[in-house]
Amino acid sequence: MLMPLPEESILARRAEIVAALRRIVPGEGVIDSKAERRAYECDALTAYRALPLVVVLPETTEQVVAVLRYCSEAGVKVVPRGSGTSLSGGALPLEDAVLLAMGKFKRILDIDIENRCVVVQPGVTNLAITHAVQDQGFYYAPDPSSQIACSIGGNVAENSGGVHCLKYGLTTNNVIGIEFITIEGEVIRVGGKHYDAAGYDLLGVMVGSEGLLGVVTEVTVRILPKPPGARALLIGFPSIEQAGDCVADIIGHGIIPGGMEMMDRAATHAAEAFVHADYPLDAEALLIVELDGCVAEVHHLVDAVEGIAAAHGANSVRTSHSEEERLLFWAGRKAAFPAVGRLSPDFYCMDGTIPRRRLSEVLLRIRQMEGQYGLRVANVFHAGDGNLHPLIMYDANKPGELERAEEFGNDILRLCVEVGGVLTGEHGVGVEKRDLMGTMFNEIDLNQQQRLKCAFDPQSLLNPGKMFPQLCRCAELGRVHVHGGQMRFADIPRF
């Protein structure tokens, strides 16, 4: 993966840029030493590293405004960063860019139970929101695996998901207002405690924009009442096909589970060895189905799902009878990534989405590719919404293995697109999938995305090198071209 070459002229101005930032953010808020900058050289996509030009940790919105205004006027690039848990390299620094870390924005500003929302600063962690309201019976629904560490600002940038988004939606469906700062240092607020906003849905556009459009300084999220009960079913199947059919049939019965996860044999074995959840080791596919709601509903749905599982030839069905047991069922799934990490020095986590019905075909093709690339894969899958996470195991110390793993991953993502799916379900494009954008979009489609970028950031200073295979050329895109003399449909009335 090639990143844009650092601009020599910016590197040469490093001392001047550091001094200017120190005038805005005093004391330890500007990190200049090489050793300390080293701590920020990558996010959770650790295969890519770069030493940031300088790291700045503002504490107030006014400081963010001043930093961005300075960078905009000085023509200096900016990479925003939350907790640095991106799996796609969204917060990968650039050697000629200021790394704008929002970690000091840690305050919960307003808990408004009556209007079912919480207003927080972007550095507050995802889980901290739930912790702040759980005593009153509420929670914040999107729950990415990194929720203990990832920040809500990063969730907004990436439109994070989690295991419960089949029923409760992604970040975009649960954020109702934001304040963000443009690269030119202008403060824009969209949404709030009310529904929707006037004008274009800029809130919807900002969510998932991977730090390319603006820097979020405040977030209003919707909180939900915690379901009174939840039970999980652990269902083992002798084949992936049967598990896939069972998933389709559950949905076909009008049931939207709180969560519906699948693991293949390799992932099941890895998880079992790690957490001892008593997973059935003879299963080719393991399904975890969580049903939540009032007691009567959970009881009713558990009966229904048990029946559907049996009809699809499940060879084991266990239903949780206590909260401890439910959490144990989940423990293996939630630990699947570190569990696979124990089997291999390194692994590469993919994130495509496919139509559910193509699952067994896609897993079969991945198995064939394992032979072709000489690398093993364990699969975990948000079965309810078709989001597939193949974990490709490799050893970065063996020459060529990282490249082989990446090529393998790219083939998997191309396959996802080929069967009617998409490149990324919840991890974002970042640098990781940037060069594959052309498999889903043609040049005109990508130009439209770039036009949106140009409206927000005409100099292309915010997080360049991410999401798009080519840097944005706003002047060129803005040029008006005229379709002259193409009278293909002479019978249409002329103006």
Binding site: E186, P355, G386, G420, C454, A455, L477
Partner: protein, 406 residues
Amino acid sequence: MRQTILRPADALQTAEIIARAAAENTPLEIRAGGSKQAFGRPVDAAHTLDLTHLAGILDYEPAELFISAKAATPLAQIREEIEAHGQMLAFEPPDWRTLLQAGGEPTLGGTVACNLAGPRRVRAGAARDHFLGFSAIDGRGDLWKAGGKVVKNVTGYDMCKLQAGAFGTLSVLLDCTLRLLPKPETSRSVIYFGLPDEEAVRVMAQALNSPHEVSAAAHLPAPISARASAAPDFPLDKSVTVLRLEGPRPSVAYRVEMLEAWHRPGLQLGEAESERLWLEIGSVQKFLGGTGSILWRVCTSPSAAPSVLHNVRNQIDGAEGFYDWGGGLLWIEIDPSVTDAGESIVRQAILRSGGHATLMRAGAGQRARIPVFQPLAGPLEALTRRIKNGFDPHGILNPGRMQQGI
């Protein structure tokens, strides 16, 4: 200039018409069924681009929970198709034809372009939350696409959000893919009579905050509550607060019992009556919108809604209103003779609590003079204009529909 209606047969012809309009700087009014033509500012265009022929379901796979259809496909056709498989558009698009005094068929594209949402907004969101992908033609005549057919998709910017609620001012939608959900097995409503507005909004908030999964909450002050045809036995002089519960039969029965135990027993409406009442609440005109009256649609913090309505009523004689979305949506009716259709009073009333007010129904003259949508200002307005200019540099797609020049 002669008014022309251009009715392309397919996507290519549509692109050709738009490209030509761009070359000649000729603004187009975009329409499909025409049922929401009176929603928004009147468009200043001599020509109409009528998409009626771009209709038909393209791809429907019940097990995958999505449907793709051409933009001008009648919503009724989509409903018929998906209801046969026990599915629904969860955002419950309301039928505003009577309200807007329009004929024509509501279509999928129009529903998305106006980002409609019905009473289930409180649980299921708006059209934006279910809009998965599209193809469209921008103001240059270029055909483009974004999104996909799967729910979980973060590949590139979420252009669906940008198109939903853009009223056709950025691109002309050709086909849309929407997420579907299973239709609940049954539904029931619980009604409380006689609550004053403040208390009703508090009860609705508590109900929505309860674990009983209330899927809609509305409050109809007296005397407009008595206009419901759904339930002939509503008393004339008492307000009506309605809470809806949906789901599997045993679950709904249990939750109704729990809800009544939690608050107090109310009047229960069975499935058929409940459905009728919520259709009437969503489509508004049964309660408000007598001939020629002005209607405002106000979204503010739910808890502030009663004071907003009281504020307006104190200043405008005869103003009436009711609450949906647990107070998050306020419909206000005003006599047409009121200066500026009450704009300054209505918009002043939400200044402190935040939100936005839309002049939902008024004569074309008033909708041209008075900002229909909450005016944008400062950097937000500048950004909005840059976005418009990026997608429609000649300003030919529904110009002025949302704001002057947008």
